[in-house]
Symmetry: C2
Subunit: 632 residues, 2 copies
Amino acid sequence: MNRGPLYPPIERLPAPFKSSELQQLLDGEHGSIRELVRRMISRPDFAYYSGTDTEEYRDQVLRWTRTVAQMGLGKIFLGRSVGGEEDLPKFMAVFETLSFHDISLVIKVGVQFGLFAGSIQRLGTEYHHQKYLSDAASAKLLGCFAMTEIGHGSNVQSLETVARYEQAQGCFVISSPTLGSRKTYIGNAGRDGSIATVFAQLEIEGKGQGVHAFLVPIRDENGVPLPGVTIQDNGLKMGLNGVDNGQIWFDHVTVPREHLLNRYANVTEEGQYQSEIQSAGKRFFSMIGTLVSGRISLAASANSIAKSALTIAIRYAARRRQFGPPDAAQETLLLDYPTHQRRLFPFLANVFALDFALKHLVNENAREQTGDSRQLETLAAGLKAFTTWNTTATLQICREACGGEGYLSVNRLAALKADSDVYTTFEGDNTVLLQLVAKNLLTDLKEKMKPMRKTRLASFFVDQKLAILSKRNPFLAFNTLNLHLRDPGFHLMMLRLRESAQLVSCAEEFMKLTNGKKMDPYSAFTAMQRPLLDLAEAHVEREVLELFVQKMMTIQSESLKSPFRQLCCLFALSRIELHRAWYLENGALSGIKSRAVCRTVDDLCAELRPIAVHLVDSFGIPESCLAAPIAR
Amino acid sequence: MNRGPLYPPIERLPAPFKSSELQQLLDGEHGSIRELVRRMISRPDFAYYSGTDTEEYRDQVLRWTRTVAQMGLGKIFLGRSVGGEEDLPKFMAVFETLSFHDISLVIKVGVQFGLFAGSIQRLGTEYHHQKYLSDAASAKLLGCFAMTEIGHGSNVQSLETVARYEQAQGCFVISSPTLGSRKTYIGNAGRDGSIATVFAQLEIEGKGQGVHAFLVPIRDENGVPLPGVTIQDNGLKMGLNGVDNGQIWFDHVTVPREHLLNRYANVTEEGQYQSEIQSAGKRFFSMIGTLVSGRISLAASANSIAKSALTIAIRYAARRRQFGPPDAAQETLLLDYPTHQRRLFPFLANVFALDFALKHLVNENAREQTGDSRQLETLAAGLKAFTTWNTTATLQICREACGGEGYLSVNRLAALKADSDVYTTFEGDNTVLLQLVAKNLLTDLKEKMKPMRKTRLASFFVDQKLAILSKRNPFLAFNTLNLHLRDPGFHLMMLRLRESAQLVSCAEEFMKLTNGKKMDPYSAFTAMQRPLLDLAEAHVEREVLELFVQKMMTIQSESLKSPFRQLCCLFALSRIELHRAWYLENGALSGIKSRAVCRTVDDLCAELRPIAVHLVDSFGIPESCLAAPIAR
């Protein structure tokens, strides 16, 4: 009775490379802190909460957050004057590795250290650093980042909360004038936070000075909201129920003048507004430029989540059999079905591609200190959108690939899916972010074009691209040789072509629409939303491929070269396949070559099949974090 | 302080048609039973459960299920001899309307009445009907449908549970020989069920007779598992936590000979196996052919869920403003952004298209009584896969379109998403179902081709299609006139072309692979998975469009003609757009025409914008069921 295993063992074929070597490569320069985090989240006190009681879950997540703080992980990026290491990339490596564990913890850590402490670090000055950062980093002082309002999420510039300077008392009075101006979805607000960085419209003697950040105490030491502060729990959410999100609103709450986080602008006792940044727009973007680090961290976290899901789904596919040839000794492994490979492996290539792109971005971000680099902002916005959507899609496919097992909470995909679904929305809605990317690209182009007459340069530019393409080889669109189809040079050319052609056509369209003031720029951008989003996507894909190819070139290990080539090629060709309609429309692919691209994607999937399990092993996700019985 | 509304009113422009008239049309012939269900689910005792305690939630769902039974809704499709109306379409209309409410209730109702009572009705004979059906229909006897095992979900033919006939005692002995043979995900098993329809391999004197269904009591009147029966709760799931799914396994459990549901096969007291169906394969498919009704009901339910989500997202978009022209009096409604329209409206067209296709299928199913119609099986499998995937995609877009609000449980999308995610898996995994569709189409083709030499007919067939296409108009691939692009004749031709070309190329590929026994059919089908899935999708889309166009032709109301034309055109063109790479590869679209198709989709979205709110109003979803504050 009841013989045999519940699940047969996971098939592990002889590996042509060491997954530990690949893991080392993925871990990169922050290997030791990643190992420390892995050990921490593997400890018995980090066993997942499996109940349904929200308060218990929040308690658990708060305890974990305090442990993270005790291990000194919350202060890594802070200044040395408050005991930090000023090492943002290292903090981001912690955040990324922590994302193999419970995602409520990840977000609570992000709110407490990244957003709350981070806002004081970046928007405040020495006074604030000394006064708050030690307690914030040790989680003694729990705080919120109160930016979003019910009426305004993406459009931060139009927030309605007001901070009026009262010269007589030398203080700011914070108020929520409308129902829509209530702060909402604020992490740490629902229960634990005692202070908040509040973004509000600064008003001095009736004159608006734009959005600024203020430190506003919200609860006393007993956790009771302070006078004038009303707090309401956001209630149950799709996921992340270990985080206490809430609404906060203010009825003439007074804070001293020193509570303005005054790195970029100050108000003197006499009510004089001072800022070294002259342009109000630039000042605003410097202040919310701090969101860039949040976007990067979130993208890295999303990619870790995709890695967990792929590990579960691919391991399950390497043990689960269903159907098979008549009279076969056993049924066929799911991993041997072409459809199954086709559904999972392009996403496997994506997480590798994004891993390297995000590491590059982390380093660029650390190098860039001014906070107003358009190039950095563009890449962060683009990668945040691309990565988080990729994770959402990966989770859906992985859940379906695990069938009914994927639906059971014990197999973890349910929580990963529910928790990460909001990633495409917070720290900037993806659709809005991609429009930002496209606008920045157009601005770059405009600046490049300044010395020449606009229309002429634009047409010169696209002509040149197409000329290069066809000059190289007039039969390019018909070249279906395998070597050519797998050539990174071909891939780069195709992705560059799509980006530059779309950039120029967007620029021309914009000029056409706005010429002679026919349309204001806002209306023109709105009318052009679809091509702008395509442009942004093309840009991100091209960036990711460039970085992947660059990384591939640096691989020294002989045994890793082949999987790198295959993954990079699969990433590139599956993007070309996805957009082959565009290439066909524009004559850059013939029908015959387009079909050859699809077949090569099939071939690459078949080639990855024997090493797929080793590839996911290389993510180094602790077994206790994977948790799923179907994957262990 | 805190002036103004939390959410501004939903914008409702003057309507060019009455949404009540459209609702009447959607409700169809079962309008009165739909109204009855709407009234029931709007009652205060049907207020949603908003807590997190699984037992409380299950209690609530069980109470609702009993109410559904008390209202006589569970017996509508049963035979008249047990008080039913023998009206399966009417029961499906109930199920579809109920899907505007809590989805755990929908599934519990599906398990208790559709699957459990349904299996007795369809697989049993008069003895079983008289003995069990009244109590099943009144929910006095709660039962399970125990088919799926841990090791075998999709491959029902390889189930491992055994039912051995013991002639001496005149009984069957039910056993679960392996761990993988445990029945799992069985609704009503976790807590409430006292009997189960168990699918097991019938064995008589050591000889296997294939899968048959047996009634097996599993709990006594106190809810304690009977001797030999072990039951284990499936635990928390991604959604549907109001349903008590569980595992069941059997250690030599004895049931009398009469417990075999013996409509298609019987075992005499002497252990003689008897069946009017000679072929074992055909017998098996007759028995699991009862799943067809389940697939149809589930697809209809999925479409209702998509309607709820679209209603919430479109109403929110008609009140939520974000960004806008500089110095405008107010920001722009989300519904006015082309991207927002583009993301939501094709799904709006899809639910209308699928509504009519599913109603057709419901009627075809009622007409077909033998249970082994290949055509019906094909359409049911195809529409189940297409509709449930469409619902999953719709929910994702709607959640994102509602931003952070969409993530809050109170706005209902979280539950709809989590509950319906498994629809793509149960009652047949979608990928497996689409392969079934493709195989059936190839079998149909083979039968049609019998009189002629195979290869010749195939090439004749595709030549003819392409000849017709180019004969009609040699410049067809370049015709970008608006009237042509919006012509249903053009749409039908394109969708038919894709289906028939893919059918023929799959047939040719299959013959090539299997010719001279190079490959067995199973391996050939496996190698061809990607083109087979494309073929199946092309088939379903063509069927849906045919039915939508047919429906459109019957519209009498002048004011409804225009929205029908727009929705039908948007459905067709967004499918052509999605597959435009295929058309470009095969010369059926030029680049210029392909771009014109995309632009026409843009135009249609803009045209639907003023009536989008009225269109979702026509679904007639009770306000209390929508529940979401952002949509009310």
